[in-house]
Structures are given as structure tokens and as C-alpha cells.
């Protein structure tokens, strides 16, 4: 009896270990693109960051995103200043993150273009909200490219827009993102 348990434990731990180190592959992207767009009759505002970070575990379908708020670049420096200082408070809340899972079963070894959905929590301005969003996955030569767009309501994340500029900033901001993931090699 004890023997059986012992063997079982070892076996499961081994499988687990094996699963994580061999089969489970981690893929990473550190230079993805993320941009957002706010459209109002008064003015259009857009900003882009070229340092969107993404990590994926193909064995669990888990996908995480991370971007530094201060890395968003605007056409007008004054807007960038207001964005960081007044609306996003990037000194207090320096990052936006998404922790989620891809809902579809995917054969990661097969090249192709797949429509996918991901569900998880998006954290902006230190306020976490559940999101389920559509996207596209392109598998080619062992690299995975995720692409998509979704809408964020500023009010959902307690981003206060002063009444004086309320006509200049849209209530719903469209976010576009794209990143290409490559196998992750841990730093020794």
C-alpha cells in the first residue's frame, strides 16, 4: 500500500515535472505593438507603445500581457503629459496587465490562421475587470502572432476625465495590439 502510494507520487511528480519542462513550452514577446484610439468630434487622440510584453504557456493556454503606461508615445507631448500625470497616474500605477486564458483548443504545431477568444482580467489604472475578447492567432514556423482589438470604457477603470476636456476624450477607447511570440529561453 505504502509502496503503491510512493510509486504513484513519484510518477505523478515526474510526469508533472516532465510536463512542465518538456512538453509545456513557454513563448514570449517583448516588443509587441499596442495602440489606442480615442475619437470625438473635437479631436482624435492616438498613442502607441512598441514595448508590449506577452507570455504564453501552450500546455495550459494561459496568456499574460504587460505594458508600461509611460511607454505610450503621443503626437503631442502635452497630451502625453496629461495622460501620464492626470488620467493614468502612471507613477502610482505604472503598468497595465492582462491575465487570461485562450478558450479554444489549439494544435500549436500546425501552421495556420485561427480565430480565437481569450478570457481574463484586464488591469488598468489599478482596477481589474473581466474581459472576453476576440483575436486572431497566426502560427507560422513555430512563431505565434496574436492580433486583436477591443474596447475599454474609461469609467470602468476609474479614469476620471475632467469636465473641461470631457468633449475631447472618448468614453470608449479602442485598443489594438499585436505581438509575435518566440520560444522562451530562461536566463541562466
Amino acid at each position: 500500500m505504502k509502496k503503491i502510494t510512493c510509486i504513484l507520487t513519484t510518477a505523478i511528480l515526474l510526469i508533472n515535472n516532465y510536463a512542465f519542462s518538456q512538453v509545456a513550452k513557454v513563448y514570449i514577446c517583448l516588443n509587441g505593438t499596442i495602440s489606442f484610439f480615442s475619437e470625438t468630434p473635437v479631436e482624435n487622440i492616438d498613442a502607441t507603445s512598441l514595448t508590449l510584453n506577452c507570455i504564453l504557456n501552450t500546455s495550459t493556454n494561459e496568456i499574460n500581457y504587460l505594458v508600461d503606461i509611460a511607454s505610450f508615445k503621443f503626437k503631442k507631448p502635452l497630451m502625453q503629459e496629461h495622460f501620464n500625470e492626470k488620467y493614468m497616474e502612471s507613477d502610482k500605477y505604472p503598468r497595465a496587465t492582462f491575465k487570461g486564458k485562450i478558450n479554444e483548443q489549439i494544435d500549436w504545431s500546425k501552421d495556420g490562421v485561427y480565430p480565437i477568444t481569450a478570457t481574463g482580467n484586464l488591469n488598468i489604472h489599478n482596477v481589474e475587470k473581466p474581459y472576453t475578447e476576440k483575436g486572431t492567432l497566426t502560427i507560422k514556423d513555430g512563431q505565434f502572432t496574436f492580433e486583436g482589438s477591443f474596447n475599454v470604457k474609461t469609467a470602468d477603470h476609474d479614469i476620471e476625465v475632467p469636465t473641461i476636456v470631457i468633449t475631447n476624450i472618448a468614453e470608449v477607447i479602442n485598443v489594438k495590439h499585436k505581438c509575435t511570440l518566440v520560444p522562451y529561453i530562461p536566463k541562466k
Binding site: 508533472n16 512542465f20 513557454v26 517583448l30 514595448t51 504587460l66 502635452l78 502625453q80 475632467p162 475631447n168
Partner: protein, 306 residues
């Protein structure tokens, strides 16, 4: 028993597995490329109260500035109830346009009331503090030339020589943003006046200014600055009280509140100096604040994107 053990082992294994997956974000954070960003908004506008900040007008932006300095608050300095605490007299008014040629270089023109000074100014960012503090300070140089357009009423007609109407000033802002709400600047200043009426006076004067900004809400800050004047002749200057007595020299000091709305910066402040232009301010004594020699003052800065 067997089942229980088996279950516990599986649960145990699952826990190990799931904790490993929670580390995904950790792995991402560890690998993330953190690009040092330029520190922005050390100050909100190009001028604090009496000294320049490290900020310049952004590229293709026109900053229209209106500054007003009223009379002294206290009755010992002609203020008090009958002069509505200085608001009925205007000491100095300055209208200025500053334009950003690039994000580093700005030029401007102004006209101010005292001595009818026309001013041409230039401001250049030499370097900008970075978020990783590899560049620990922001450095900006400011220079202006002031030409006085006053009517020459002197008998000796000193202003017949045009060059005598001209004064120059230079200032370096060495600024550091400590936290998102606290910034300091240290400003070595230099003034050159082509003409000084008193032969004992100096054409060249040096001063050292220091200023701070403390942001206490998302759009409001307390600002303040002080200038120590090294010019020994200027330090012997006095200000005149209502009763005609001379009050000994004071350095310029100022304290105010800065309110920022999108595109506008309003500064409401008190200062003991009468003058808005550097070359005037640094060649006259400021008034004694303890005797009511402080003046209400405001500045409106409006940014237009061109």
C-alpha cells in the same frame, strides 16, 4: 485510504503545477525591457514665479502668457484698504509669446510695462533627466535681450546711444524631479546692463535662484522661489515706504498656487518684487514682506497647437 492518498497526491501535484503557471507574469516582468523614459512635467510651465524652469514650449506650440503684478498689499507700502490691498495699482504687466521650434528649442518675444521693455528670448534644453536617473538632472539654458523704449527725458540724453537701452540676462535651470509631485530647480543667473546710471553700480550682476513645485492634487501645485543677488551695489538699494522712509534691501521671493487645466496654466501668487523682467528685478531692491511689501500677482499661460 488508497483513494484518499491518490486524491491528495493529485491535488498536491496540481498545486505545484498551478503555482508554476502563476509565475508567467513574474517571468514576463523579469524579462521585460524597461526603456528609461525622459522625465516629463518637472514643472508645468516655462516660468515658476520669478525664475525660469527647465521646461520649454513643445514643438509647434505657441504659449501666450499674460502676467500681472499688482501693488503692495500693506498700507506701509501704499497698499491697504484705500488701494484695495494693491489691486488698484499695477506695477508691471507682461505679455509674451513663446513658440517651440523643436521640443528642445523655443523662442519668444514680450513687452512689459516697467521701462517699456521689449524682450526677445531664447530657451534651449541641454539635457533631460531620465527615469533611471542615468541623467540625474534636466538642464535648460535661457537667455534674453531687453530693449527699453522709454522716452529720454534726461538732460544728458543718455539714451541717444541706442546700446544703452539694452540689457541681457542668462539663466541656467538645473532641475530634478524627485517624485511625481515634487521638483526642485537651482538657477544660476547673470545680468548684463549696457548702461548703469550710477558709476558705482556694476554692469554685470550674478544671482542664484532656487525654486520648487509641490503637486498636491492632480491639477494643483504649490510653487515658490527665492533669488539671492550677489551684486553688492544692488544689495545696498532700498525700497521706499509710504512715509518716505527707506527700507533696507530684500531679495526677491515668491509663493503661489499653480492650477492646470487642459491647455491652460494659471498661477496665482504673491511676491515682494515689483518687476517681471530679470534685468529689472535683479537691479532693484525687493520690498520687505513683513511690512506688507508683497504683491498679488497672476500669470495665465495658454497653449495653442499650431
Amino acid at each position: 485510504m488508497k483513494k484518499l492518498l491518490l486524491t491528495s497526491v493529485i491535488v498536491f501535484a496540481a498545486i505545484i503545477n498551478s503555482s508554476a503557471q502563476d509565475d508567467l507574469m513574474k517571468v514576463l516582468k523579469e524579462n521585460q525591457t524597461v526603456k528609461p523614459e525622459k522625465v516629463i512635467a518637472t514643472f508645468k510651465t516655462t516660468k515658476l514665479i520669478n525664475i525660469q524652469t527647465n521646461e520649454t514650449v513643445h514643438k509647434r506650440v505657441l504659449d501666450f502668457r499674460i502676467a500681472h503684478r499688482f501693488g503692495s498689499v500693506g498700507s506701509q507700502y501704499n497698499g491697504g484698504f484705500h488701494n484695495f490691498y494693491g489691486l488698484y495699482s499695477i506695477n508691471d504687466v507682461r505679455f509674451a509669446f513663446e513658440y517651440g521650434i523643436t521640443d528642445k528649442l523655443a523662442i519668444g518675444v514680450s513687452r512689459s510695462k516697467v521701462n517699456e521693455n521689449f524682450e526677445g528670448l531664447i530657451k534651449y534644453r541641454i539635457m533631460q533627466q531620465t527615469s533611471d536617473n542615468k541623467i540625474p538632472v534636466s538642464l535648460t539654458v535661457f537667455g534674453n535681450t531687453a530693449v527699453s523704449a522709454v522716452k529720454d527725458i534726461s538732460e544728458s540724453k543718455v539714451y541717444d546711444v541706442f546700446a544703452r537701452r539694452i540689457a541681457y540676462s542668462t539663466q541656467l535651470s538645473i532641475a530634478h524631479k524627485f517624485t511625481s509631485s515634487f521638483s526642485l530647480t537651482l538657477n544660476p543667473m547673470y545680468v548684463h546692463r549696457n548702461y548703469v546710471s550710477n558709476p558705482e553700480d556694476f554692469n554685470d550682476g550674478f544671482a542664484l535662484g532656487a525654486g520648487f513645485r509641490f503637486k498636491f492634487t492632480r491639477s494643483m501645485s504649490i510653487v515658490g522661489d527665492y533669488i539671492y543677488n550677489f551684486n553688492s551695489f544692488t544689495r545696498k538699494q532700498t525700497s521706499t515706504l509710504t512715509n518716505g522712509n527707506a527700507e533696507s534691501y530684500w531679495d526677491p521671493i515668491g509663493l503661489g498656487i499653480e492650477i492646470e487645466t487642459g491647455g491652460h496654466v494659471f498661477t496665482i501668487m504673491f511676491s515682494n518684487t515689483t518687476y517681471l523682467l530679470e534685468s529689472e528685478m535683479l537691479s532693484h531692491a525687493s520690498e520687505n514682506p513683513a511690512k506688507g511689501g508683497i504683491k498679488f500677482s497672476f500669470n495665465i499661460s495658454r497653449n495653442f497647437s499650431m
